[in-house]
Amino acid sequence: MREISVDVITAEVARLCSLAACDLPADVEAALQHARETEESDLGAFALDEICSNIRIARDSRLPLCQDTGLVVVFAEVGQDVHIVGGSFERAVNDGVAQGYEQSYLRASMVRDPVLDRTNTGDNTPAIIHTRIVEGCRLALTVLPKGGGSENMTSLHMLKPAEGVDGVIDAVVGAVEKAGGNPCPPTIVGVGIGGNAEQALLLSKQALRRPVGQPSDHPGYAELERTMLARINETGIGPQGFGGRTTALAVHVEAFPTHIAMLPVAVTLQCHASRHQTVVL
């Protein structure tokens, strides 16, 4: 049994929150630069120029890429031979979020209650924590701060099995078209197929963790990703919804077995500031 102290978890979560807010992963930056080089619309090119400059300013000046420094989603993969010591795991994660947001001057965006008391909690807690128990003696933590504007465009489509591949394509492309300029395109489109309702939504968010444009391991889904990306970029929505060739940078599909009566499809749109950082302890 390997011991990991809650103090280490708190410090690492704080560090990851700060890093994620200001430092866009290299794969996302490369995808945006490629989009800038290929974008044909003037307004689309203007938007992508601003976005690419913003990435450099944020990194060099340690300023958040976006003022919406997000609701913090944490994916924790806990090895079954790990013993977390010194306190509560979830409290340690939330302490890390509070410290990271305060120390790095990130915006606190969480309200205490969604309807009855929309008072800001002041430290961006609580985080949304998804914990899985896995084999081994390591603890992997991924911090994925997600902005409200793109998260509001999330959709769930409970299709009939007979709708098949065409139904999936129509649901995903339709969701992107309906969202239009709202989720800050160019987006990364996370698609969760199968499981049940909440599993499909969770898969669609986990799909955002994959390096941008890395195809699915499953050749059939890799082809479906290419087909859907082409269809999405034919919509003409373009960067920021101004019109252009780049509406999405990538489509990432994650699938899971499902029920004989079901074909759930969830679509989570990630804005171009696809912020996520991982540490393995």
Partner: protein, 188 residues
């Protein structure tokens, strides 16, 4: 290549009338930040006959809630938020409070567009997620109302060459309709 128009705020109605959907604009002058909670409170004040804390006549409202300023900085990162959430309030602010323009991101409702045409108002789209870059154009920032709302307080900003696009002009033409229509590739 693209070329920008340089525009001063508060917005002169004659200048507003000459701005066209798709123009790239650099704004210099005063902006007021207001987002969800400030809109709710401001409109509630208007509806109950109270004096609102800020005069919006001729002003441009920026839908934004910045990150906290680091020591020695005027402001933190400060990009636009989604405008559609303010749609329910905007016609009232255009008609009754004299608002002349708004800045945010994403499309507006037909009711907002109609109220803009009636008022001769302009809607600018800033680049969502370009908040660190936009912060470089902000030279002053003061909270002027609703300080208790934190990032959602009303702030008066002084900006120089703040980059944005005329998304919906005073004639009601929208980039969110024209842009995708012009660039759509028809499916066989």
């Amino acid at each position: 290549m693209y070329q920008a128009k340089f525009v001063r705020t508060p917005l002169d109605p004659a200048v507003a009338a000459e701005l066209h959907c798709g123009d790239i604009v650099m704004l210099t002058g005063e902006l007021l930040t207001m987002r969800d909670a400030a809109h709710m409170r401001y409109v509630a004040a208007l509806e109950s006959g109270q004096e609102p804390p800020v005069d919006l006549r001729g002003q441009v409202v920026y839908y934004a809630g910045p990150t906290p300023a680091r020591p020695g900085h005027v402001i933190g990162s400060c990009g636009p938020t989604t405008s559609g959430r303010m749609d329910a309030f905007t016609p009232k602010l255009l008609k009754e409070a004299g608002l002349a323009g708004t800045i945010g991101k994403g499309p507006r409702s037909p009711q907002v567009v109609q109220a803009m045409v009636d008022a001769g108002a302009v809607y600018f789209a800033a680049i969502g997620g370009a908040a660190a870059l936009i912060a470089q154009t902000i030279e002053a920032c003061d909270v002027v109302a609703y300080d208790d709302l934190g990032p959602e307080a009303i702030r008066r900003l002084e900006v120089r060459d703040y980059p944005c696009v005329v998304a919906i002009d005073a004639q009601g033409a929208s980039i969110y309709e024209h842009g995708p229509r012009d660039w759509r590739i028809p499916v066989d």
